[in-house]
Symmetry: C2
């Protein structure tokens, strides 16, 4: 069997998970790894040893990906890099005849996204955002229930990224930026320079899938709102006192960002980004149709007219989830259970690899990626312009006037 | 002791509750009841008998309220009428030297609200929207926790009215309008002629209170969105077939209406109106501050930094609710337990009566009422204008240009 030859760009927090999941598969051959941060190299070595595979070429230079692309023949590349490098690296890699898998990222302008569209359309490259939440068991089961009509006609969805990142945005000395540990070295700067939904794909991926966006439906408009930004400075003040330099008014990212989107088919969507204040992690999904509702917050809550009494929540929602588990989940859940970290990571990688092996377009293609990522610059723009409702670009079409600013 | 002399305008579904709660109090004397629907008269008679009080003047004519106001000396009037009569009756009654209590209603234009403001300011009448949710035990406890700093600085709130009204909007023959039973006779017509948040006060009352709106803070802007309207026709089709005249595309009220409001102090608010599709009843409250979050959906969920581990929901939220129950709740909960229907109805009436007895402004005054009710016409306008963000009027100030349309 021909193994899929993959090069990994980035083997940090997320990249290392993709590496291990690739090593677990018998249809993948890791040909190279690019990782400039030598702190991660020990773990890389350990993994190849653990899975009894020969160490491939390891590039330690941050430009190593260019050398890899020009000197090694690959079927696919997986890019898992800090947001600041997402565009530059993706734009370069898309010029090569490989499948490009991209870990959840953040785009800073529509310009970037239209550039990626142009490169893709010039070179015909296949590209998939590896949004694992689209392959979460609950999300796949809900998709199955939607497809089988249990929710009736959908009218409204919600979701988002509500993750208290304060202990990630600051290291234990309440520092961030160059020299700070972990994601604080790069992620926090976005809270100082940007005010919008910085990380929309975990929420919008599943919702776009439920609503069949780019499959006959499309987003039509978006308007975004930012609350004041007081969470980060009060967090630093709590730990280091209000005179600490990072306890000042330097953050512009609203603590809670909400965006409302409309679709061609008449549904509305509310997306939330909430990373500066305390709360338990949640993607806060909601699907409301003419026959029922799903809310995921502090557990799964279902009301389905065909199964539930009027005005009641289902007592044992897990039973209906079990019944409607997606066929893929039922078939591969035990393989997925062996996977590093999340089972959904197994399924998202499986889809990517299978698309490569059968030379087909992945389930989520570059137009899905561009649509989802566009929410960041669009939300920033809407907030900057006083919560103006902005036309949502259709990346399958030529760029139009409204989308240029 | 001088008893507060009250005239009731409307003794239907909600008015009859106010009547019974008034009859239970030893400081109230019901002097007159206006109720044109004779179906309700038997219940009125029963209640006066039950509480051993002499039957007062009963007006059976729909204009009886005018006769009552001019011929009977009253301290206060409680208006509980279908939305269509709210404005006309309130505008009339506000001209008299009485306290006016108004059951949750729906305004159809800013014009109406500015007219009420003018009458109030000419005559100096006291007026309180009897929004019982402001006096719900959980809401009062959360208010207490907010006041004691448990949530830190507030940044974002949510709430609304999510109530599957399909079996109220249609009688058992799937009819509505004149001749239909119950609220279907008047309420459904609003789903055919209006597209906006028809019933905002249950949600916005508590939120405005949490955010101290009209107490140093104010709403600055609002933008609203409507999903498609398919819930009502599919409900009728399900029960009577798709050829039933009421299973047609005649409804314009979006099944899910969402409004995003901003405030002078930098908080954002999302308000939901959801009455055409199946789901369990919920006011969907959320309060997010720099130190914690409360979500009320399928129960009460609390994360308070001072009490809860990072990323965890509180295991026994009722314990903290018990601890922080509002002093009024602790003191009067046993009296409230005897009340017709909801305990919160006891507390809202108590506040109204006590304001009258001590000749003071009620806790929620006419400016609160105008602010809350304005959400209906503003949301309709925003939706009509393609989800335009509209400046929110400040009813304490003179009417400005933006508010005229």
């Amino acid at each position: 069997m021909h193994k899929v030859k993959i090069g990994l760009i980035g083997a940090g927090y997320r990249g290392i998970i993709h590496l291990e999941n690739c090593l677990q598969r018998d249809d993948v051959n890791i040909k190279a790894v690019v990782e400039p941060n030598i702190e991660h190299h020990q773990k890389i070595h350990q993994l190849f040893k653990k899975y009894k595979q020969p160490l491939p070429t390891i590039y330690k230079d941050s430009n190593g990906y260019k050398e890899m692309m020009t000197s090694i023949t690959l079927d696919a590349v997986i890019i898992s890099v800090p947001w600041d490098f997402f565009f530059e690296i993706t734009a370069f890699v898309l010029q090569f005849p490989v499948y490009v898998g991209i870990e959840a990222a953040s785009a800073t302008s529509l310009e970037q996204l239209y550039t990626l569209k142009e490169i893709k359309e010039t070179h015909g490259t296949q590209c998939m955002l590896l949004e694992n939440t689209c392959f979460h068991r609950d999300v796949m089961a809900i998709q199955n229930m939607i497809d089988q009509g249990l929710f009736g006609e959908l009218v409204h969805c919600r979701g988002g990224y509500e993750h208290d990142l304060r202990s990630i945005k600051f290291d234990e000395n309440m520092n961030y930026g160059e020299g700070a540990k972990g994601e604080a070295s790069w992620r926090t700067n976005h809270s100082i320079t940007r005010n919008g939904d910085l990380y929309p794909t975990h929420g919008i991926g599943p919702i776009a899938s439920f609503l069949k966006i780019n499959r006959g439906n499309e987003f039509v408009s978006i308007v975004s709102h930012a609350s004041k930004s007081v969470g980060l400075k009060s967090y630093v003040a709590k730990h280091k006192g209000e005179h600490h330099p990072n306890a000042k008014d330097k953050y512009i990212l609203g603590d809670v960002i909400t965006s409302t989107l409309t679709t061609k088919n008449g549904e509305t969507v509310i997306l939330t980004h909430n990373t500066n204040v305390p709360r338990p992690y949640s993607l806060g999904f909601r699907v409301q149709g003419t026959k029922g509702i799903w809310i995921q917050e502090h557990g799964n809550h279902l009301h389905l007219e065909d199964y539930t009494d009027r005005d009641e929540w289902m007592n044992q929602p897990h039973q209906i989830f079990n019944k409607y588990d997606h066929p893929d989940w039922k078939k591969y859940q035990y393989d997925a259970a062996k996977t590093a970290r999340h089972q959904m990571d197994y399924f998202v990688l499986k889809e990517f690899i299978e698309a490569i092996k059968s030379h087909r377009t992945p389930k989520y293609d570059i137009y899905d990626m561009l649509t989802w990522l566009a929410i960041s610059p669009l939300s920033e723009q809407s907030i900057k312009e006083g919560n103006r409702t902005i036309k949502f670009p259709n990346f399958k079409e030529k760029r139009t006037e409204e989308a240029i600013y």
